[in-house]
């Protein structure tokens, strides 16, 4: 608390003075100004500490509690037929990977194509304006509302109470599409116009210029955007709880039946326990650790995809 007040206090005193650049003409800062500067630096350091502390605690808790059950069984077993201790999360890990892959398969092509349309074809047009507005609105869809929408859609199509991995992927795609559109659009705009014009001047049709010049140039940024989108949805719990449900056995079929996912696995291990509560808590924390590891590995892997992409990224 005291640190936050310090920051606030620093700002308040500073705002009392005129802040135009011209008032700072003195060549050597007075002690008061130097003190204020030091205070501000201190506040920035404090902000970093204040941020780092809870986040470190969260990660530390996940590592410490999660490693209690980080054994081989965890990755080779599902929860089918498991009573009390033991069991694993293979079914949830598989479900998360399948649903995430399905979500990406919906959201990345759709989002990227939309971004290409917005930057290369439709700029200034009416459809582009409408789509851009739609994307703006979609960004503000809370994830649980996306889950409700997917539920409403699938219950209209297949009757109430349907749960499936696909419904989960549809809900998550609603969250991921705007992320992909926005980041892709930004990256595509960064591609120099000269490159496009050079291609067009050589007589290539526009679509070939886009495919052969614009997209390869933007690839690292596009990949980063896609990974950002995946990272945004892979830990989503609420929509999956509503439409993908939970099961304790393997399910490879996205189209039918409930499918377990890591976030929902963590939640259910915490929320419905048997007598041996410690075993359930351990599995929950182990699930949290695995989920976080999956996210970290995904992000690092995306940066490594082709080495030259990483190189371009670093130069950017």
């Amino acid at each position: 608390m005291s640190i936050a007040e310090l920051v606030k206090g620093g700002e308040r005193t500073a705002s009392g003075r005129g802040d135009a650049v011209t008032t700072l003409a003195a060549s050597k800062p007075s002690p008061a100004r130097r003190a204020k500067n030091a205070l501000a630096t201190g506040a920035v350091v404090a902000a970093v500490v204040l941020t780092a502390v809870p986040l470190t605690l969260v990660i530390w808790a996940a590592i410490r509690r999660g490693s209690e059950r980080l054994d081989l069984t965890l990755f080779t077993h599902s929860m089918r037929g498991v009573v009390g201790a033991g069991g694993g999360l293979l079914h949830a890990l598989t479900g998360t990977l399948l649903i995430t892959a399905a979500t990406a398969a919906i959201a990345i092509p759709l989002g990227l194509s939309t971004a290409i349309y917005l930057t290369e074809y439709g700029s200034g047009g009416r459809l582009a304006a409408i789509t851009r507005r739609a994307v703006d609105i979609m960004v503000s869809i809370p994830s649980i509302v996306a889950g409700l929408a997917a539920y409403a859609l699938f219950s209209l199509l297949l009757g109430p109470g349907t749960r499936s991995g696909l419904a989960g992927a549809v809900a998550l795609a609603m969250i991921m599409i705007p992320v992909v559109v926005r980041s892709s659009e930004e990256v595509l705009r960064l591609v120099p116009a000269d490159l496009r014009e050079a291609g067009l001047a050589l007589g290539s049709p526009k679509w070939r210029v886009i495919r052969k010049i614009v997209l390869p140039t933007a690839l690292p940024g596009l990949t980063a955007g896609a990974v950002l989108g995946v990272a945004r949805i892979i830990g989503e719990t609420a929509p999956l709880l509503l439409v993908a449900g939970f099961t304790d056995a393997m399910n490879y079929n996205l189209a039918e039946g409930r499918m377990a996912t890591l976030p929902v696995f963590i939640y259910t291990q915490w929320s419905s326990k048997g007598l041996d509560t410690a075993a359930y808590d351990q599995r929950a924390w182990a699930g949290a650790l695995v989920l976080m590891a999956v996210v970290v590995v995904l992000q690092l892997a995306a940066r490594a995809l082709p080495p030259q992409i990483a190189k371009i990224r670093r130069n950017r």
Partner: protein, 376 residues
């Protein structure tokens, strides 16, 4: 460059992860199919069945169902049993709408619904079989530094949860707890904020035993003003674990780490126990006007039988006497037989902390007779 190497490793790790997760079946699932056949000779089920049995309903049973599913597939390795803890009401609606083999429910079907017809999951005009399978004591649990035993009469409990008694050193509490040094501390009553069978049974108990102090009647959604509302059983447990001075009500199976209060039954003080819970069911009478396979109890909350603990939750399994599909009937009959057997009840007791109904012979006989009607 070192960073580059880490990223390369990460890339391969991702690939490995995907391959491992997508290619491999779960070790436990593959093993069952192969090893199960050898187990078929022992056990009560002579005939080996196969197929899928779908049930849904009360979440209170989920830990017990976990144990039953595991125990049942160790006898019938080719059968898959699914239980969806969607809640009692939703489970009953799904059963009536069709497509479920059985349903678990904290509140039984009405006598009318159970008497026959109108259940799309059953053969036409088939009456329902309903049996109590999960009997769980509900404990009044509290967190007070240095105190692990308390005696609380129903009227006192009602006054605490309605906010009339607000301090632990209140004379009403002290009167029943001579020798206990009650602290001068605010009471923080915690109730369930979600709709739950536990709340339903707790309020039913208070309404029956302390009607003057508890006027809200029986309700699955907490009716009273004030108090902390905790989400689900685990929210309640976390709140009681963290809060000095907190008091709440929890299924006994989830309350092992908390202190339990004894409640007043007749003139005795009784602590929650599996035997006491089964005894309280045995002391209750069957609800009248129901069919022979419809074993539904009207719980006697005001019993004064020695050792009975009437603050209990009784959850039922419901099924049809006749199914359109005879195979489903066989599966349901075998599953119910296992669940109500001593093995099944002991398995539930070990994982969920419930009271085995087989502890009471009269109860057990009625249940077995009802189960025998399924698919017969």
């Amino acid at each position: 460059m070192r960073l580059g190497k880490i990223k390369q490793v990460a890339l391969w790790a991702t690939a490995g992860l995907v391959v491992a997760a997508l290619a491999g079946c779960a070790a436990n699932e593959a093993a069952e199919g192969a090893a199960g056949a050898s187990k078929s000779s022992d056990g009560t089920n002579d005939e080996q069945l196969s197929g899928q049995l779908n049930g849904a309903g009360a979440s209170s049973q989920s830990a017990a169902q976990e144990a039953w599913k595991a125990g049942f597939i160790s006898l019938q390795s080719d059968v898959t049993v699914n239980y969806d803890p969607v809640g009692s009401g939703t489970g009953r609606e799904q059963f009536t709408a069709g497509g479920l083999g059985f349903v678990g429910t904290d509140a039984p079907f009405s006598a009318d619904e159970a008497s026959g017809g109108g259940q799309a999951s059953c053969a036409a005009d088939s009456p329902l079989v309903e049996v109590p399978v999960y009997i769980s004591p509900i404990v009044v649990a509290f967190n007070l530094d240095g105190i692990d035993e308390l005696k609380l009469a129903p009227a006192v409990i009602a006054d605490i949860f309605t906010g009339k008694i607000t301090n632990w050193n209140d004379p009403a509490i002290a009167a029943d707890n001579s020798g206990v040094e009650l602290p001068d501390l605010k009471i923080s009553p915690v109730h369930r904020s979600d709709k739950s069978g536990t709340t339903g049974n707790f309020t039913d108990y208070l309404a029956a035993t302390a009607p003057d102090n508890w006027t809200a009647g029986e309700t699955e959604e907490w009716p009273a003003e004030g108090g902390e509302g905790a989400e689900k059983t685990q929210g309640m447990v976390e709140a009681l674990t963290a809060g000095n001075g907190a008091i709440g009500y929890v299924d006994a199976g989830q309350a092992a780490s908390l202190s339990w209060a004894s409640i007043k039954v007749g003139t005795e003080w009784v602590a929650a126990s599996a035997e006491g819970a089964a005894k309280a069911v045995a002391e209750s009478s069957l609800e009248e006007g129901r069919g022979e396979g419809d074993v539904v109890y009207e719980l006697n909350r005001t019993t004064d039988a020695a050792g009975a603990y009437p603050l209990i939750l009784v959850s039922y399994l419901a099924a049809c006497e006749k199914y359109e599909d005879a195979e489903t009937g066989k599966l349901v009959a075998a599953y119910f037989k296992y669940v109500t057997s001593d093995d099944g009840q002991q398995a539930a007791a070990a994982n969920a902390g419930s009271a085995p109904l087989t502890a009471e012979e009269g109860l057990s006989a009625k249940v077995s007779a009802a189960v025998a009607r399924i698919g017969a």
